[in-house]
Subunit: 225 residues, 2 copies
Amino acid sequence: MSAINERRERERVHRHRLIVTAARELAEAEGWEAVTTRRLAERVEYSQPVLYSHFDGKDAIVTAVAIDGFGELAAHLRRARLAATQSGQPTGEPGQPAAESDQPAAEPGQAAAEPGQALRAVCRAYLEFATERPALYQAMFVLPTDLKFASAETPPPLRAGFDEFVNCFDPHNERRELFAEVIWSALHGMAVLSDSGRIPPAGQEERLDFLITQIAGTPSGPTTP
Amino acid sequence: MSAINERRERERVHRHRLIVTAARELAEAEGWEAVTTRRLAERVEYSQPVLYSHFDGKDAIVTAVAIDGFGELAAHLRRARLAATQSGQPTGEPGQPAAESDQPAAEPGQAAAEPGQALRAVCRAYLEFATERPALYQAMFVLPTDLKFASAETPPPLRAGFDEFVNCFDPHNERRELFAEVIWSALHGMAVLSDSGRIPPAGQEERLDFLITQIAGTPSGPTTP
DNA sequence: CAGAATGTCTAGCGCTGCTAGGATGTCGTC
DNA sequence: GACGACATCCTAGCAGCGCTAGACATTCTG
């Protein structure tokens, strides 16, 4: 009643992970339309119905991949923001992240070394995330989902990711949630239009630069109350 | 060899339109996942294979719907921009459009009555279009397509719609194409995230206002060279 | 060791996009 | 007016999809 069942439970959890990562890999390699229950089952070396003993259906598998993604995105953005606020370096990839904290949205909005610098770093990190893992990004933000976004049942990692944008603005700024929504929308638009070839992927850096300049540089920029 | 064949050709064209509008109506009523070749065939009162004598496949039907949409969007944006540049009224719907010209991108960038007013009108019209015809909008900008966007084979109505954004900026502004891309991306992000419930649809107006203020109000706004 | 319970698989349902092949009707020509 | 040629359209069916019922095997319980 105990040791054996524990082993079984462990194996079950392991297989659960196996399914999720297999789905993700398959999607990343060949796109979500190639992710069928049959191919997925073959890949994890079980029969089809096993999938349904772990998930309510294919959509639930996609959702599980998406939730993984939310956690990774939040961590990615957080690293970028902290690196930008601590050192003064304006650009790109932090070498080793200083903190990898689990509690999502701590130390809100400590003033950036230079106005808009944190925002720029977070935005860049967001686009980087979207372009480097297009299928994962699609699962999170494009494919139809029944995940609640701006509500009480919002998964914490999702809220945490959003808060990374919010925290780029002055905590006294009452409209910073609104700002974050607009920034996020713009980044999402750029990411998805570029991914589907609707705007030239080449200009992404320039577009980002313009966006940040406009948002950060003026009347109600990140550090203005 | 003539009159009868002409009639046949007319009927064929008519049926072509019938299929496209049926697909669009069905999608608008029940979403694109409800648009199957069988249901579509039933709706136009022909058998399934007839669809394939008009289109290369289901994707081609969606594309046809999208192309219709591009034309309508361009006209919609154009009306909004002209109404805003001629009268000085800042808000909403023009009563009767003055011109419905076919040549897409005429009279570029005549100065707005007030800086950013044309831009605001066009942006508002864009979001209006997207929210009132969500399925059509999806066909145009969300569903996978093999339409060429920023290239030589870009369908003229599509280019025309984009130019409505470009023309909101000063013609001497070398970066106005870039600005238009960013504006468009932001609007697209807002439209699609709101439609899929990922940001609250209620705040759309406020977000738009913030976006316009930031883009139009500063360093490289619409009327600045 | 018998019986219950659990886990997994085979087989199949109704649906999808798409197509081959035969039936039907219309055409130009004798 | 009859006839072969042609175009048009439909019935029937294929392979693949998400998903599930029921048989089978294995393992645990008394």
